[in-house]
């Protein structure tokens, strides 16, 4: 894609394309503590998560994703981001990520330390591609599903 077009496609940031092509957190864990699945019947996108916990901390996380670049990169960047977080922290990031995608007004001020999104901000342009938001959300849905088995 030539530069002009690439510029127009801020949505497909280099980072997204790279992580979709060569994910850093793809694969399985040999002994996951919890697992989660996400599936979008509309397009056939699927992701599976293996998570190793250390108390309430996410010690390690791997994903197995079949889907579009947005979904695959979202899974990989999510894994990178939440690794080392507590479950509660990861869920807070999840809420913040969603708020960014749907372009909702700033979160309630009661949130003392807004979780920074960091690299996850590459997905912000999805705001104007509503139909693709679910692609980026799928791994987070799988994450929530995994944590639904954890109390804490």
């Amino acid at each position: 894609m030539n530069t002009t077009t690439a510029e127009r496609d801020a949505l497909y940031d280099r980072l997204i394309v790279e992580r979709a092509r060569a994910p850093l957190y793809a694969g399985r864990l040999s002994a996951p503590d919890v697992q989660g699945d996400g599936r979008n019947p509309l397009c056939g996108d699927k992701t599976h998560l293996d998570i190793a916990l250390d108390g309430h901390h996410i010690q390690d996380i791997r994903h197995n994703t079949r889907g579009c670049a947005i979904c695959a990169a979202a899974a990989d960047l999510m894994a990178e981001h939440v690794r080392g977080n507590t479950v509660a922290q990861a869920l807070a990031v999840s809420d913040r990520f969603r708020a960014m995608l749907v372009g909702s007004p700033s979160l309630p001020v009661v949130e003392a330390q807004p979780a920074p999104l960091g690299a996850l901000e590459v997905f912000a342009p999805l705001q104007s591609h509503k139909a693709r938001i679910r692609c980026a959300e799928l791994p987070w849905i799988a994450l929530k599903e995994a944590f639904s088995h954890v109390d804490g």
């Binding site: 894609m1 077009t5 127009r8 497909y12 394309v17 092509r21 509309l42 397009c43 579009c68 670049a69």
Partner: protein
Amino acid sequence: MSTHTPTTHAHAQLDVQAIRQQFPILGEKVHDRPLVFLDSAASAQKPNAVIDSMASTMRHQYANIHRGLHWMSERTTEAYEGVRDLVADFLNAPSREEIVFTRNSTEAINLVAHSFGALLKPGQAVLISQMEHHANLVPWQMLRDRAGIDLRVAPITDDGDLDMDAYKALLADGKVALVSITHMSNVLGTITPAKQIADIAHAAGALVLFDGSQSVVHHKTDVQELGADFYTFTGHKLYGPTGIGVLWARRDLLEQMPPFLGGGDMISTVTFERSTWANIPHKFEAGTPAIVETIGLGAAIDWVSKIGFDAIAAHEAELTAHALTRLATVPGLSIVGRPRVRGGVVSFTMADVHPHDIATLLDRNGIAIRAGHHCAEPLMRRLDLSATARASFGIYTQKEEIDVLADTLVRIRDFFV
């Protein structure tokens, strides 16, 4: 209609520029690029003739129909009922009373599943194919679960044609009461051998419904020549309004079938104890119909008829051939479906690029295509795909737009690989 100039098949030629002038939306920009609309199979754009006929009805001559004794109501009734004549002509139906207006193809098929379905007995079967749109699958599943009939599925070949031997075999036990099959696949572009399908069905004692949602747009339809018993199509794909579709069915079938929806206009007399039904087609049209949309459908049929299906079919054949050639040059691209006879719909996949990414990136360049399962999930499973990208062509599509598509696909692929 009166200005219709007959075109011979050989010389049929569309003046695409003149046609495009009649579609204001084609002058729009998307992401600062001129709109390249290659999604007509999902829904076609509307010519001024249709837009103006609807607006003009609402501006100058509108009232509720059938029950009114005043001028506006009588004129609007005439306009509405006049479209029934037009549609009967359009399908070469034996009579206008066989034309039932519905919201869309989906409702037309549901009507048949409900009302013809009510005549079926447990043990009888309905036969569909592997390439059906959900509209021609889910209503039959619902009937199956409600009425205890059998639902059979005729397989397709790897090229995307109906497997005629398997089809015949599925009819062999004489239990199939109805074959319900698409006349053109919205994914593979396959135009099915309708006449042959009907002959085989009839020989086995089955009736046949064709889902003409895609096919009526591309060539002349003659329900008598096809030997159909039921035929459905949808206005919005035929350059007409949303909210209006058509069921054609043989008179004797409509007469036997119980009504579908109850309410005003479909009754003869009503007491609290019981009601009797109006004659066909009114028996199947309950409540205030989509009056303005029906009139708009009439305008669309007039407009398409003036252009003529010889010219339309020739234009679309040329576009499709061009698309198949040009897309073949895109690295990593695979065409999905190589049917013997095809309409202006081409599905494809690209190695290492998901159809959704293709669609979004094309869109950033002003090019509208569709990506997904195209409401044909079981077909996707048969093809072992989760989704395809699909470009589809209409009366207003230009060869140059297909070139832009192919060039942009090459750039997208470079971007990802």
